[in-house]
Symmetry: C2
Subunit: 217 residues, 2 copies
Amino acid sequence: NHAIICGYGRTGSRVVAELQAAGLDFVIIDNSEEVIARLEERGIACVHGDATKEESLAAANIDSADSLVATLETDPDNLYLTLTASGLRPGLRIIARVNDPESTDKFRKAGARRVVSPVASGANQIAQLITRPAMVDLVELVTRKKSIALKVVEHPLEETSEMIGKTLAEARVRQTLGCMVIAIKHLDGDTAFDPGPNTRLQLGDILVGIHQPENSA
Amino acid sequence: NHAIICGYGRTGSRVVAELQAAGLDFVIIDNSEEVIARLEERGIACVHGDATKEESLAAANIDSADSLVATLETDPDNLYLTLTASGLRPGLRIIARVNDPESTDKFRKAGARRVVSPVASGANQIAQLITRPAMVDLVELVTRKKSIALKVVEHPLEETSEMIGKTLAEARVRQTLGCMVIAIKHLDGDTAFDPGPNTRLQLGDILVGIHQPENSA
Ligand SMILES: [Ca+2]
Ligand SMILES: [Ca+2]
């Protein structure tokens, strides 16, 4: 289970740096000999080829991959890649970058699980800085590494869970899971935010908790 | 107190749509006659001119603005605008978009409070989808409008606050403020996440809370 990064350009190279920092496995596909030579020098797993071709995806072991990032230069190439990859591996988690945010739907239809538009992300970030500055602070509080390291955990209540049928207080969730439960996602898709201590836990509930890892501060 | 949006292109137009949705006041500056004609038809406050010039900023009432968004086409134009605007109004909250993420420092030095790089935002979003999927879920839970509307509140403890000197439990924060306190930012910059009920509140503390507005679900 590795990630395949297709296209080592401005976006792809940044994604790779984050994956390296997180210690995750990945293989890069790029069609530039120069790019591949530099990656090989650095000892990074890579495939020289056209990522829209099945043979390149096979060389990157798409069969055992759990995610694929489509960051080729153009939207048509990324769409073609998305179709090829989802055809080869229907369950694959494909994350596609689009240059034109209007083409998001096309990518969804082609099998992309997530579609990221840098233009839309950037504009949204700017808008939130104006409309919801406190929200931005929270998100930074939660995601920024420097100030406070928080971890989000999702704890699904499976059949064998001893918490089922108990209230949050009875289940002593904070002590058992070591986290602050901020929401419960129910099986029907509803989410209960800040559930009270008397909330009764059901099979299929997913507890959404946040905690601060011990070796951070 | 309005926002000034400089440049109504791909980014600027998206920012404006969000400000409209939030019901906030803004004035757009753009140098295209065509763009201005269309905005005027829609009854949107705008100034035709070069946003890097003091006269355009004055026409957009920079004196009474509380924020300015720099989304002109090129980084040099946005940098020039940032310098001009921060010279005219030293305290103004300037949010600049950069095309080249490497130039962030230049913008900081020029007086931009926040610098947003769409390429870096997009890449960061993709990386988080792979490295911290649960974190992305939390952020979406907190920011997405559809599934659950949460509001973040920051409650600074000022001299007159009756909470100072009390513990969180004694202050009955949840009842008083109607929110779930997830963190306390202290005056010295430290942030205490998930503070316990016996945490004693001090002058200058900022309580970071989240709550769900009553008329949403
Ligand atoms: Ca790229
Ligand atoms: Ca723009």
